[in-house]
């Protein structure tokens, strides 16, 4: 394996890492701020891809429209879920939230599978992003380059929003002491609802990014979600920066494994998770 070819593989790993980072970001936001394990995340990612497909098929609206509309639409479904169902579980053990979202994931995936079968639906790469860049050591499809940059941008923007702005500060305070923050006149329940919607919107956005390169199929979320959970656990379940760094990092590690020992590329993330949990149970960037 030449160094050139190796660079190519690293870049590919970075692309996959962007998906992991974007998805684990949504999960980390939801868990870190709401203490809910959102098992529905995979299904919401899948819905994002499907809504993008429908916008194209039924309304003739292309990729760029989808980027704006899809997170709002799917985020809205998230708001409905939170209002109707999750709200009632906050006073209970966190594991009920896990079970509820697991059940919702089954329902959503089942409904989509029923209506659309499993072969998957085609979605084209937008015109402006077709073609490849000749980087010398590899041909990088333009679209994939866009995915890396856009994901990085969104991850950093989200991190900034939550860790460095006043809104983010309110959010973090509300998680620790909702009564006190409510007493200051801030509508805590509404913030929580919107936060969940935001996390879901991030998942849906990842779905739009994925639609042109992976088949739009009802199973696309369930294969990914378990891996993303591992990423979040390794990064530290509430840490935003942790999931971003771990997401990209694990993408690269997985990419390297695909080159040197491809049969293990599925398992390597779980092995790392087991090791991290043994040495540093709160995750690489988490707090006890």
């Amino acid at each position: 394996m030449t160094t050139q070819a190796l660079f190519g593989q690293l870049l590919i790993g970075l692309i996959n890492g962007s998906f992991y980072a974007l998805l684990s970001l949504g999960l980390a936001v939801i868990f870190g701020l709401l203490n809910i394990i959102n098992f529905t995340h995979g299904a919401q990612y899948m819905m994002g891809a499907f809504v993008a497909y429908f916008l194209m098929q039924k309304a003739g609206l292309g990729y760029w429209w989808a980027l704006a509309i899809v997170p709002l639409v799917v985020g809205a479904t998230g708001v409905v879920i939170e209002r109707l169902m999750l709200k009632q579980l906050y006073k209970l053990d966190h594991l009920y939230g896990l079970l509820l979202t697991f059940g919702l994931a089954l329902i959503i995936e089942g409904l989509f599978r029923n209506s659309f079968g499993s072969a998957g639906l085609p979605y084209s790469i937008p015109e402006s992003l077709t073609g490849v860049y000749n980087l010398g050591f590899m041909y990088l499809p333009k679209y994939r380059g866009w995915v890396i940059l856009a994901s990085l941008g969104i991850c950093l923007a989200t991190w900034f929003l939550i860790e460095r702005t006043k809104l983010g500060a309110y959010l973090r305070a509300a998680t620790e002491n909702p009564a006190l923050v409510q007493a200051f006149g801030i509508n805590v329940p509404r913030m929580i609802t919107l936060t969940y919607g935001f996390g879901v919107g991030l998942a849906a956005l990842a779905g739009v990014f994925a639609a042109p390169i992976y088949q739009v199929s009802p199973q696309m979320g369930s294969s990914l979600i378990i891996v993303v959970f591992a990423v979040v656990v390794i990064g530290g379940m509430g840490s935003i920066m942790g999931s971003i760094i771990t997401g990209f990092g694990l993408g690269i590690i997985e990419g390297l494994t695909k080159v040197f020992y491809p049969e293990a590329s599925n398992t390597v993330i779980f092995v790392i998770m087991a090791i991290v949990l043994m040495i540093r149970p709160q995750g690489l960037f988490g707090q006890r």
């Binding site: 070819a5 593989q9 590919i12 499993s118 499809p141 992976y214 695909k258």
Partner: protein, 404 residues
């Protein structure tokens, strides 16, 4: 009236004939069970379409006029060997099913093969690939219709090498089926004078093949062989188009691809793909006429070779049952092997002693979008492999039914 009397007379005759226990249709009903994947990976290549195909066969056979009552039931095995076995067992034990058809997914097929053999019913497999069904695991109760791994490997492998594709790189799904397909195709490529420049194994259900495709590109092999199936094949083809593999001069060889897969991908992604099928709806007037009828009953989806195989298999089965006036499993399969086959889809053919149905295979290439003139107009036929060369020689399979 005459019709009813015919049945009464026939029934009386049957009841009176000595040793008639074997020459009877159990329960007076021939029950066909279509067992396949109705809800996931393989739902489009078989699924409800196979049920439609079976019903069409019953209609075309004119079962009622011949005095046979034929029913169809169906179930979803969800690609799980345990679910499939349980359904097959329950069907035979408790519901009087006489013949099980379709069954894609080799794992499930092998399990059903054993059950049907133990209970002496009939198994007509159209959907699965494993050549073991007519080899090491052959059974006097099983007929393997449409295709198998040997035919795919040899058809696609040798035909492509003959056409000039003599250097290969394999992208293989890392499980038994993928390994088998890779091994068989590699053997054929080498025998035909080609070279294998490398291979890479990807875990099954991989979403992202970019890393593996990059390696395939770097190898500069003329042909990238996809030894995988279902979602893996679709994903690898889609991403290959993204990385410009075909545009860069390499050709993709899909070792197991169905019409429904090409439909799901769209011609712009699948163009240039080379594959082998044993049925295509646009081959001749008979296939076209049948396909139009099928599509009308199947939501305008055109038939895959698996669904065609279900139709032809059920038709031939009913002819055998009618000739014997019995649905005794082992005897019916014997009859099916004795009688040459003739249907509008596969033409004239036969079933060998090992249960293998013999018919020609077609090496096809997926058209460019500009070349396609209508819905499902996807393939251009590059070569026809005659029936006597398309399948594994009868002595090579290790089937115990074949006398040396």
């Amino acid at each position: 009236m005459i019709f009813k009397r015919k049945i009464l007379v026939a029934a009386a005759a049957m009841a009176l004939s000595a040793g008639a226990a074997q020459a009877q249709i159990s329960g007076n009903v021939v029950k066909i069970g279509v067992l396949n994947d109705q809800s996931s990976l393989y739902a489009d290549l078989g699924g409800q379409g196979s049920v439609t195909a079976a019903k069409m066969a019953i209609e075309d056979f004119k079962a009622k006029e011949k005095g046979l009552t034929v029913e169809v039931v169906f179930a979803d095995h969800q690609n799980k060997a345990d679910v499939g076995s349980q359904i097959a067992t329950k069907w035979i034990d408790a519901e009087g099913v006489d013949v099980i058809v379709d069954v894609p997914n080799s794992g499930v097929a092998l399990a059903v093969n054993q059950i049907v053999r133990d209970k002496k019913k009939v198994f007509i497999n159209s959907g699965a690939a494993s050549s073991d069904l007519t080899g090491a695991k052959c059974s006097p109760n099983t007929v393997h219709w449409t295709y198998d791994t040997w035919m795919l490997a040899n058809g696609t492998g040798s035909a492509i090498v003959k056409q000039g594709g003599d250097s290969w790189y394999f992208l293989t799904a890392d499980y038994a089926f993928g390994h088998a397909l890779e091994r068989d195709t590699e053997a054929v490529v080498l025998k035909s004078g080609g070279k294998v420049l490398g291979k890479v194994r990807a875990p099954i259900n991989t979403q992202d093949f970019s890393s593996f495709l990059l390696q395939a590109q770097a190898s500069k092999a003329k042909i990238v062989g996809l030894a995988n199936a279902g979602g893996d094949t679709i994903n690898s083809i889609k991403q290959a188009s993204e990385f410009g593999i075909v545009k860069g001069g390499q050709k993709m060889a899909g070792l197991l691809v169905f019409l429904s897969d090409v439909h799901g991908l769209g011609l712009d992604k699948a163009q240039g793909l080379i594959l082998t099928n044993t049925f295509y709806w646009d081959l001749n007037d008979q296939t076209r006429a049948w396909a139009k009828r099928f599509a009308a009953a199947n939501g305008n989806k055109y038939p895959t070779m698996v669904q065609a195989g279900v139709y032809a298999g059920v038709l031939h089965y009913l002819k055998a049952v009618d000739a014997l006036k019995s649905d005794d499993g082992t005897k019916v399969v014997e009859q099916m092997k004795k009688t040459p086959t003739d249907d509008p889809l596969f033409g004239k053919g036969s079933i060998r002693v090992d249960g293998r149905k013999i018919h020609p295979a077609y090496l096809v290439e997926v058209r460019k979008p500009s070349e396609s003139k209508g819905p499902y107009d996807y393939y251009k036929v590059l070569a026809t492999i005659p029936a006597d060369q398309a399948f594994r020689p009868i002595g090579d399979g290790g089937c115990e039914l074949v006398k040396k």
